[in-house]
Amino acid sequence: MLEYIIRRTFQMTIVFFLFLIFSYLLFNAIPGNAFSSLLLNPNLPPDAYQRVLEIYGLDKPLFERTQMYIVNFFKGDFGYSYKYFPKTPIELIAERLPRTLMLFSIVNIVAFYTGFFIGKVLAWRRGSKAETWITVTSVFSYTVFYPWFALMMLWVFGYKLGWLPIGKFLFPEKWYDAPFDSDVVFTSMIKFTVVVSVIQFIAYLVTRGIESLSLRRNLRFGSLLAIFIGSYFYWNNGEALIQKPYASDIAYHMILPVMVVTVVAFAGTALLTRTTMMEVLKEDYILTARAKGISQKRIRDRHAARTALLPVVTSFIFTIVTIIDGSVLTEQIFSWPGMGQLLLQSVLEEDIPVAMATFSFVGVFALIAHLLADVSYSYLDPRIRIKSQG
């Protein structure tokens, strides 16, 4: 196993190297460059454009630039952004990444739980009328043309009903005399969310082993209540009290994107769970469990759903990997200033250092996830064995 991982890591390094060269050449193949717009400005002297190119080193031949970029990349120097000059790509990513992760991890967790629950029920109630209708709805939300759907939702909730804001991350008017940066507030929001979800997860793990259904349910409800009371005290004391109105502003802007993406995202999990669960229900041990006289609900939740969880979790891991890739469109529609928008903007404006940094960030993420998925497959499912090569 260890030998396999070492070999894979070696191969991955080569792939990453090729990836860097390939994407650098790809960005340079786009006609024009980041400063082409200077040529259109009649107020600038004619040699200004040339001098800007010299400053950024864009006048050098392509081969030399590629070489320099890759050498510097492995030294840990990613250059400076062309558009936001004094900032480095790392600073930009550090600013944007939390926003995307916050939005999409909430979406993914909610979508995973609702999807898994709905899929479980769908497979269990096979052939009933409810199954057909839920399936039709989930197929609709799985295949709906996403930008169109998002715009319609924006129209309904943002414009017609006027309940929720149309796009953006915050109301700028509210933040004129704010004592701190939006990032500070956002960081404390992230900390709060992480702590809450960790507590809830621990409560779930502790209560999982409890046999009696009512006790388990009460304990879980109690932990939820404790979290509510705790968060009430947290947001009404000290530093958090000053941050509260600003944090609630950001949270208010998050409602619509979270809702829309969840509606679109839950269906994939639901349909996958349905398929795997149906396969599991054909297994012999389900028949055995039935013959033993175990209650239907227990068979569904304890025997079938547990086994059906495995492929769903693996696909969920892959969904997490594609968060940044998938966020491009969502963030564009809801004007959410996250990683996806940075990626798209840097590509469209040919801000090569930022685009390369974001591309390689996404790339490393994907590579490691593929390795982890392969290793965890063989770990979780002994039927799949990894041979020494491949």
């Binding site: 191969q11 991955m12 080569i14 792939v15 990453f16 090729l18 990836f19 390939f22 994407s23 790809l26 960005f27 193949a29 786009i30 006609p31 096979r126 052939g127 057909t132 399936t135 039709v136 197929v139 609709f140 799985y142 295949t143 709906v144 043309f145 996403y146 930008p147 169109w148 759907f149 715009l151 319609m152 924006l154 129209w155 414009y159 017609k160 398929t275 149906m278 396969e279 054909k282 940044i324 890739d325 491009v328 469109l329 564009q332 990626l343 798209l344 590509v347 469209l348 685009a355 591309f359 996404v362 790339g363 994907a366 590579l367 593929h370 799949i384 041979k387 090569q389 491949g390």
Partner: protein
């Protein structure tokens, strides 16, 4: 003679298998609904050239890109009051009402008085007998555009799915069958493709190459075929490779190529077909997203229809101009959903554990 008989028998068996599969497919209700949806859109796609050739539709009026038609309408000229509510109008949104026009809007037309009848051309025109789904803001027939869009969707979806699944089936089977270095190479190659974020990559490609429908189909097919689907097909082929009939074929002296193409590949084919149907859904969605963002060099497609209705500002006008917003979006959704349902029906056929009994 003997060989002929054998061939006839094989043909008969194949026909039997096809019949049985069709019977199984018919059992899944949603699969049949999906098939009907796909056939409906195929019918729409084929109907448009037929209407043009037979001359039922005049090309000058109904052409989806350069056609032009208007509907003449006579409006009553009124003057909107300065303060609301009045007897006639509740609020400022009610004036001018249907069939009326505000006199202030007509400052370009001299000599028009309040109370006159004013003749004008409406664009976008609402659905009528001549234009079943109305016209867009340039006077082009929406129904004809929907037909053109379904042609684009079919060409693109089927071409890119066939290409992609063709590539990934062959590569995935080879990777599983030979293993070793070839496998490692192919897997790292698909890693390389998976590492590139798909939408920005398509943006870059559209920046330096003018993408037409065919080009986009090839690009989507190659990216899809070299990327993640190789991994999925490989895992399926690995399960086929260890079946006893492959070993017996080798014992009887079959060459590697023979075993690969006549024993392993046919057994991977059902999954590949399934994969193809599902990837049509993805291809249609990507085309629409790219045209929606205005990055394709295509004259007309569903994505472009939504793009136009958004840039013209109709998407936030609500249901007043529903014929500009709903048909295109629903067409994309329904065709993608139709292919998805067909795929699910096929899944029931090929995967015996999903069947009811």
């Amino acid at each position: 003679m003997d060989k002929n008989l054998n061939q006839d028998l094989q043909k008969e068996l194949r026909r039997e298998a096809l019949k049985r599969n069709w019977r199984l497919f018919k059992q899944s209700k949603l699969g049949m609904i999906g098939l009907y949806i796909v056939i409906f859109f195929l019918f729409l796609a084929l109907l448009q050239p037929f209407l043009f050739i037979t001359g039922i539709w005049n090309k000058g009026v109904y052409d989806p890109v350069v056609g032009y038609d208007t509907i003449k309408d006579t409006l009553l000229v009124v003057e909107c009051p300065k303060e609301y509510p009045t007897e006639k109008y509740e609020s400022y949104t009610d004036c001018p009402a249907k069939g009326e026009v505000n006199v202030k809007k007509l400052y370009m037309a001299p000599g028009v008085e309040v109370g006159d009848m004013y003749e004008t051309f409406i664009q976008p025109a609402p659905p009528s007998r001549t234009h079943l789904l109305g016209t867009d803001s340039l006077g082009r027939d929406i129904f004809s555009q929907i037909m053109e869009g379904s042609q684009v969707a079919f060409i693109l979806g089927l071409l890119s799915a066939t290409l992609g699944v063709g590539i990934s089936t062959i590569l995935g089977t080879i990777a599983a069958f030979f293993g070793g270095r070839i496998d490692a190479y192919l897997m790292r190659q698909s890693d390389l493709i998976l590492m590139l974020p798909s939408l920005p990559l398509l943006f870059i490609i559209s920046a330096f190459a003018e993408l037409k429908v065919w080009h986009l189909a090839v690009v989507l097919g190659v990216i899809g075929g070299l990327g993640g689907s190789v991994i999925t097909i490989k895992s399926q082929a690995l399960q086929v490779k260890v079946k006893p009939f492959v070993d017996s074929a080798r014992i009887t002296g079959g060459s590697n190529m023979k075993i690969l193409f006549s024993h392993v590949l046919p057994n991977v084919a059902p999954l590949a077909l399934l994969f193809m149907v599902f990837s049509v859904t993805g291809a249609i969605a990507s085309e629409s997203v790219l045209s929606f963002l205005g990055l394709l060099n295509i004259d007309m497609s569903w994505g472009i229809m939504i793009y136009l209705s958004q840039t013209d500002g109709f998407i936030f006008s609500g249901m007043r101009y529903w014929w500009l917003i709903l048909p295109a979006g629903l067409a994309v959704t329904f065709l993608a959903g139709g292919f998805y349902l067909v795929g699910r029906g096929l899944d029931d056929v090929f995967n015996p554990r999903l069947r009811k009994r």
